[in-house]
């Protein structure tokens, strides 16, 4: 019975939740977004520094469960240096991975550790939170950047 649990909480996830990468506010952020999970009250703030269409740097802050924190942390590693279009594609594929346990079109690299989430439907939202925030930040390009 622990197979499901161990699939969900892979060592990589535990590790990233305990010491999240890029866990900082970017002073040079050109876009930011807030992610909020009303189910649990968790919040994350996401900071992007864009170079044209490409994410030059990224950081996040906030509180959350192991899944949402690890997801945000691994996201920051996965999207750095990627274009907006690439990130949108990743978003779709991560969503497939989280809801179906697999995704078409090749390996998602380290993000594959989230495949176990699909057996826990209530937790899909947690893993998607940072991805939604990233899209919101990318789409909010006409909005003035608030550093607050």
């Amino acid at each position: 019975m622990f197979d499901d649990l161990n699939d969900l909480y892979q060592q990589v996830i535990i590790d990233h939740s305990k010491s999240p990468r890029n866990f900082r506010r970017l002073e040079a952020a050109t876009r930011t977004a807030q992610g909020h999970n009303p189910l649990c009250g968790d919040n994350i703030a996401l900071y992007l520094e864009m170079d044209g269409d490409v994410i030059k740097d990224i950081g996040f802050q906030g509180s959350g469960c192991a899944i949402s924190k690890a997801s945000a942390s691994l996201l920051t590693e996965a999207v750095k240096g990627r274009s907006k279009a690439e990130v949108k594609q990743m978003f779709e594929r991560v969503h497939d991975l989280l809801t179906k346990g697999q995704t078409s079109g090749g390996d998602l690299g380290k993000l594959e550790v989230f495949a176990g989430v699909h057996k826990f439907p209530a937790r899909v939202k947690c893993a998607m939170l940072a991805w939604h925030a990233t899209l919101a930040a990318l789409d909010g390009q006409d909005q003035p950047v608030s550093t607050e």
């Binding site: 499901d4 909480y9 305990k18 649990c40 469960c65 209530a122």
Partner: protein
């Protein structure tokens, strides 16, 4: 025929708790390979056979609309529905069944008062006193009515993790400008039991009307609206062994009589003209449209069941289990417990160091233990406690010490799993 007096299936007079458990089919299953331990009773309770059977019987034999038909089935449905109202009146010691309004739940009951009594009586500058431990359903309706009327919200503070109302500050906030004092009987997050009668008496001295949120108390201890002295009392059927979608607003007749109706439609009128209508008498004035007839009948069966077990016994059992759980959990390392150390209701909110509430609940579920994790519809309180969420175990009379022991073992497993 309908609304027969429910008997404990097991026909025990002094409750043999094992026999009581046997009446709840949903308790007897395995979840993720483990016997279910259902500790999410503050969210909703499980249903005993007499309630399930009352719903079944109604739909099989008696289903018809109420108050409008002349035929036999309609008579039965009306008798069942109005009989249920009598049962509720008797359950809370109301002066009469005309003071009992059926609603969809606590939330709708409070919204009804806010939108009728509130809109009719609150003026700019008036104060609405709430406490910091209110559920969103006893908070947001008042924010809405404050925005509509210009009244102002004021809060009685809670004392940190111990979660008691800070009664020393009551005088400071319960000023003559307070027109309404709305507060919960038992906190769904902290397990605090508030001194209702005392608060009501203090409110009456400044002329404030009182509303008690009895969502967490009505099915757990004897509730007597006349002894409490309040003006309104709201609760949900689904938390007290009844069907979902049922609830009660009790109000003092003088107040209900003076209040305008809320929703308009069938059943709530005595006569309708093209340009104006005359309202029906209580309680129908507040029940527009076809009500949840089966639900009310099921709720009456739930009340019969609870009284057959005995609400005083249920309360003793809840409190003993709450205290036992609190003491057992307090022996764990790396746990933060919320709510009063003594005198708590049958629930415990907690956090394990370095493990988020969601992760606790997910892993507990793999052991068959149903908990709740989140803000429990108490976001302002959570903020005050400086946490985003907590995990919560909440008990009812069918839960056992053995289940609590197993639950505490599972908490240890969770700590091991996350390496804390």
């Amino acid at each position: 025929m309908i609304a027969e007096t429910a008997q404990l299936k097991s026909k025990v007079s002094a409750p043999a708790w094992d026999a009581v458990r046997a009446d709840f089919p949903a308790l007897h299953q395995t979840v993720n390979g483990h016997p279910l331990i259902y500790f999410d009773n503050a969210a909703t309770s499980q249903k005993p056979l007499p309630v399930i059977e009352a719903l079944d019987r109604y739909y099989r034999q008696d289903n018809a609309n109420v108050h409008r038909g002349i035929h036999e089935l309609s008579n039965r449905a009306t008798t069942g529905y109005e009989g249920a109202r009598e049962r509720v009146a008797n359950f809370i010691h109301a002066a009469g069944s005309q003071e009992v309004i059926f609603t969809r739940g606590t939330t709708e009951s409070i919204n009804l008062v806010a939108n009728t009594w509130g809109v009719a009586n609150l003026k700019p500058g008036d104060r609405i006193l709430l406490t910091e431990m209110e559920h969103h359903s006893n908070l947001v309706p008042w924010q809405l009515v404050a925005a509509k009327t210009g009244a102002k919200l004021v809060y009685l503070p809670v004392t940190g993790d111990e979660g008691l109302l800070n009664l020393r500050q009551l005088d400071a906030v319960l000023t003559p400008g307070v027109k309404l004092f709305a507060f919960t009987h038992i906190s769904n997050t902290l397990g605090t039991v508030n001194p209702v009668a005392e608060l009501v008496e203090r409110a009456r001295k400044v002329g404030a009307v009182t509303l008690v949120d009895a969502a967490q108390s009505a099915g757990h201890l004897p509730v007597d609206v006349r002894a409490l002295g309040c003006d309104f009392l709201a609760f949900s059927g689904h938390k007290i062994c009844g069907p979902t979608g049922t609830g009660v607003l009790w109000g003092r007749q003088e107040l209900l009589d003076a209040m305008p109706p809320w929703q308009g439609g069938g059943d709530m009128i005595s006569s309708v003209d093209f340009f104006e209508s005359h309202w029906n008498t209580l309680p129908h004035k507040f029940e527009a449209g076809t009500p949840h007839i089966a639900g009310a009948i099921g709720l009456a069966a739930a009340m019969d069941y609870l009284d057959a077990v005995g609400r005083d016994r249920i309360w003793r059992h809840d409190q003993e289990l709450g205290a036992y759980a609190y003491e057992s959990m307090a022996r764990l390392k790396g746990i933060r417990l919320f709510g009063p150390k003594v005198g708590r209701a049958g629930l415990v909110s907690f956090l394990l160091d370095d493990v988020h509430a969601h992760d606790v609940v997910t892993v507990a579920d793999q052991f068959g233990v149903a908990l709740r994790g989140g803000h429990h519809c108490n976001q302002p309180l959570m903020r005050k406690l400086g946490v985003a969420s907590t995990a919560r175990a909440s008990f009812y009379f069918y839960n056992t010490r053995a289940e609590v022991d197993r639950f505490v073992e599972v908490l240890r497993e969770i700590q091991r799993f996350f390496g804390v």
